[in-house]
């Protein structure tokens, strides 16, 4: 590992100022669960770490109007166990509990979880080319080992997926990220935080250099809405998603069981949580039946472009999605 200097940030503003003032490559340190690994592998080589893990932005609190604000350094375990999250946003609690291990959840922060890097094997192996790690070096995954990689939204430059479960849940909650940056404060909605690779896969998000996530805001969900997270993986626990589904469903409360609101996101299929906007549009005001779910999901998955070895993700995503929506409708 390369040598680095270390500073403990006194506050969010001070952290941003220290970041901006650094002439050397600099990164923020949260829980470190991904960054420590990347530094050991030589994938990340900061010469200064600004530790934000101890900032007082770890509260989870109710907001006027019924929303909830989660401080960016709240630990994943605290967020998953918090009564406000468990009662109002079960999809988020479930996504967090489906991710990583008990130990890692005690370390990992909400902000760091959003900013973790892809687990694409080529990205993590510095002996291999990778456009995300070394721009212009090429993407061996396109012709290589790509069974875990993207089926949506990729480019000729990069076919990586984003590994976060939590981000997929936040995508259906229309969560908003609050940041402190060199230019001041701003908010960014999720989806919208993570970017698809296009010609520049080096940037995973729309954050500017030095921009620090200070909180995640959850808008209120209607009382009648139900939410759920379902994850498919190759082990029973402690494994990244092959495919995952987050969904929010609200019915009109009549005998007709018409869908008032339906939000769907897929994980493990793209460089960002994949909001299934086609399926959502097809389901709005439709009856909550398995046939309608299957047709809408089919329209969404028709847009998938699987790679050589990950075609299995298409029927898998279709089946998990239809099952999840059908179960959710039955529970509503």
């Amino acid at each position: 590992m390369k040598q680095f200097a270390y500073q403990r940030a006194a506050g969010a503003r001070a952290a941003v100022e220290a970041f901006t003032a650094s002439a050397s490559p600099v990164m923020y340190l949260g829980g470190g669960t991904n960054l420590a690994d990347l530094m050991r592998l030589g994938v990340a080589e900061p010469e200064l770490l600004i530790d934000v893990s101890g900032l007082p932005h770890d509260q989870i609190e109710e907001r006027p109007g019924g929303g909830v604000r989660i401080g960016a350094v709240a630990r994943n375990s605290d967020t998953a166990a918090h009564p406000l999250i468990r009662q109002r946003y079960p999809v988020l609690s479930q996504a967090l509990l489906d991710g990583a291990s008990g130990q890692l959840r005690n370390m990992a922060t909400v902000g760091g979880n959003l900013l973790q890097r892809t687990r694409c094997g080529y990205f993590q192996d510095v002996t291999k080319p990778c456009n995300k790690r070394r721009p212009g070096s090429g993407c061996p995954a396109i012709e290589g080992d790509n069974r875990d990689l993207a089926i949506f939204g990729y480019s000729e430059a990069c076919v990586a997926t984003h590994p976060s479960d939590m981000a997929v849940a936040l995508a259906v909650l229309d969560a908003i990220v609050a940041t402190e940056g060199p230019g001041g404060q701003r908010t960014i909605s999720i989806p919208g935080l993570h970017r698809l690779p296009g010609a520049d896969p080096t940037r995973d998000t729309v954050l500017q250099p030095g921009e620090l996530i200070v909180a995640v805001e959850l808008p209120p969900l209607p009382a009648a809405a139900r939410s759920v997270y379902r994850k498919v993986r190759e082990r029973a626990s402690f494994s990244f998603a092959v495919v995952s589904v987050a969904a929010v469903l609200e019915l009109d409360g009549t005998e007709n069981r018409l869908i008032r609101d339906c939000r769907i996101a897929l994980g493990g299929v793209a460089a960002a949580p994949w909001r299934a906007t086609r399926a959502e549009a097809a389901l709005r005001a439709a009856a909550a039946t398995e046939e309608n779910f299957a047709a809408a999901v089919g329209a969404e998955l028709a847009e998938a472009r699987p790679l050589r070895d990950n075609g299995y993700k298409v029927p898998l995503a279709r089946n998990v999605l239809v099952r999840t929506l059908t179960d959710l409708a039955e529970a509503t």
């Binding site: 590992m1 040598q3 680095f4 200097a5 270390y6 500073q7 403990r8 050397s24 490559p25 340190l29 470190g32 669960t33 420590a36 690994d37 050991r40 080589e45 010469e47 200064l48 770490l49 530790d51 893990s53 375990s77 998953a80 166990a81 468990r86 079960p90 609690s93 479930q94 509990l97 489906d98 990583a100 291990s101 008990g102 130990q103 890692l104 005690n106 370390m107 082990r235 029973a236 626990s237 402690f238």
Partner: protein, 186 residues
């Protein structure tokens, strides 16, 4: 990427003085910023009970209790843990009296080679405390631990600790014993 020429020196210090309290002993020392908590515990402070397995957060052999919570010490920079209270496997027993989990592991023969055991023990101590606080898991979902605390629940909550000898059935049985004793004592 750095534009710095090789051989240049960095201006900011690359070492930091920190205090760690390990098994109730305060230790003041200067660490290379790159040192993980695991390496500092083992190589600098002599607490070799904590083991290095994968060194990338996947096996759990390095699990310790940090301010009462279980964590992977291989993924933590020691410099970032200034002031922390740490318990390693050496700190679990009360003198010659084994911690109930240690006694249960012996009773149930919950190991073969023993390399993962310090991490299993520290993880189980942290896990039972989490469950006692009512933390949910992927198995209990919204129901909380009141829905029962069976083998499936323990396997899920202990999934961050691998055992290459696959002593899992006895590890789960040992933890079940202690969980049931704790419930009976309530």
């Amino acid at each position: 990427m750095s534009s710095r020429a090789e051989g240049d020196t960095l201006t900011a210090p690359l070492e930091t003085e920190i205090t760690l309290t390990v098994n109730e002993q305060a230790e003041r020392l200067i660490v290379d910023n790159r040192s993980t908590l695991l390496d500092v515990l083992r190589e600098r402070l002599g607490w070799t009970g904590t083991k290095k397995g994968c060194d990338q957060g996947q096996c759990g052999a390095c699990t310790i209790l940090l301010d009462g919570r279980r964590v992977n010490s291989c993924l933590m920079f020691a410099v970032a843990q200034d002031g922390a209270q740490i318990t390693t496997v050496e700190g679990l027993a009360d003198g010659d009296r084994l911690h109930p989990l240690q006694a249960a592991f012996v009773e149930r023969d919950a190991f073969q080679c023993g390399y993962c055991t310090p991490g299993q023990l520290c993880s189980a101590v942290g896990m039972l405390a989490e469950a006692a606080e009512g933390w949910p898991s992927a198995v209990t979902g919204d129901g909380g631990p009141d829905r029962g605390f069976g083998p499936e629940e323990i396997r899920e909550r202990m999934s961050g600790n691998l055992c290459r000898c696959a002593a899992y059935p006895n590890i789960v049985a040992a933890i079940m014993d202690v969980a049931e004793d704790a419930k009976a004592a309530l």
